[in-house]
């Protein structure tokens, strides 16, 4: 019997529907990804709430990685993706084409034979 698909890290993303999960400070509103137990904005140690991030982003910078340690298949695109609705920047792979400042949307992608990871693709 096929196993239920699982994210490659618990608490980082959910699969149905695809969403990234971070944390938001109830005092200053700063959003963090991945979730942290303190606020990196105002340093509040409490009042941190879980939050689902927006799925729409923009490529702030990207590279095509052509050499990596053994076991990592190349080439692949790595990018800083900004999520304007949450004021969050995160590191992610981009699948398909890429250019600077390109609008992208969150997508799921196999992490390995068993687990599910995330990436971004050009927004439709």
């Amino acid at each position: 019997m096929p196993r239920e698909p699982r994210p490659f890290r618990e608490g980082l993303l959910t699969i149905d529907p695809p969403r990234l999960h971070g944390s938001r400070c109830s005092a200053c509103g700063v959003t963090a990804f991945p979730a942290r137990e303190f606020c990196p904005g105002c340093r509040a140690p409490e009042g941190i709430q879980p939050v689902e991030l927006d799925n729409e982003g923009r490529v702030h910078s990207f590279t095509v990685v052509r050499q990596a340690p053994p076991g990592v298949e190349v080439p692949y695109i790595l990018a800083w993706v900004d999520l304007p609705a949450d004021d969050v920047r995160l590191l992610a792979r981009v699948e398909g084409d890429v250019e600077l400042d390109m609008p992208v949307s969150l997508a799921l992608t196999p992490f390995d034979d068993e687990l599910v990871g995330f990436c971004f693709r050009r927004a439709s």
């Binding site: 990685v65 990596a68 790595l78 800083w80 969050v88």
Partner: protein
Amino acid sequence: MTLAPAHVAGVGMIRFGKYPAEVTLERMAVGAAREALGDAGAPLAAVDGLYVGHVFGGPVAGQRIAAQLGLDGSPVSNHENYCASGATAIREAWVALAAGLHDVILVIGVEKMTDRVSGGVRPDPGDLDAAVGYVMAAGHALSARRYMADHGATREQIAAVAVKNHAHSVHNPYAQYQKPISLDEVLGARPIAEPLGLLDCSPISDGAAAVVLCSPAGLRRLGIGGPVPRVLGVGLVSGSVLTGTGNLNAEDVSRRAGEEAWKLSGVAPDEIDLVEMHDCFTIAEIVRMEGLGLVPHGQGAAWTADGHTALGGRLPVNPSGGLLSRGHPVGATGAAQVVELTWQLRGVAGGRQVDGARTGLAYCKGGTVNGTDGGSVTTVVMAR
């Protein structure tokens, strides 16, 4: 509060490069240590403690070295801050001297990489960035592409860092590579993480460098009368968790490391005559110099292409050839930078001597941590 400076009684290193398997970590470290002890005129019995910086050397590498060198039984400590490990060991030695715990300390930075690292270094496997596919070259490639877009800098200007540092390395007999390279060679090299190619990246290297640091009592113990170069202070900061979507190349971690250095040393940034900068990648030299405030933000690429950071320029950066040419055995690099600054401040650096060098800065940045602007950054300020 400022601590007393550490006096540099002696320095030594082995040429960085790729050594066969039988040239072990311990053998390289002992080779560099004997050079430094000989330079200081220090017998082993005069050494109070051994501080060793390394990353991949395994448990108690420092004690393994001590048992080969003849410092067995001494206080030995191992210091890991990734590429800032050697400089971190120097900082801890400076603190121990100032505290009066020891009077003569041998610091060794050492790394054996070519038999255990391939394809480039990366974060700890447990770090989220590593899981996503981050390798060091990729991080700097992301920095470079955005730097070009934000400041109108060209690929050629960034490549000029490699051309400049390799030109310096011709005069450094300890450098892994000692030949000039052309701009066309940098631009045409095999791509590693676009827009960066092979010659934008420091190599994977083996090597060791050593420094004998003393208190005034330690200098007397070694019979050293005249003035010697001093480590005035060593700043250490770690990356902060970033928020928002601001300037990717703000290098606030470098700014804070610079502020620490100026505060601890009493030296003002405009007093720095030369910099040994952690140019693990071409673009890194540019943005880190800007972060320190030694080059105006957004102008580092143009400064490099215009020769302002070359020997004879207004602020020479990496007269040794830097990591790009000297090589980058990660735990050894911080110690090798201090060895170079010592030679420069003694005025014995030969064809790569910075005329009238009185005050120098050595900068290391080690490792990455997901969501932050870096792992560790060290800033060593030295004066003659």
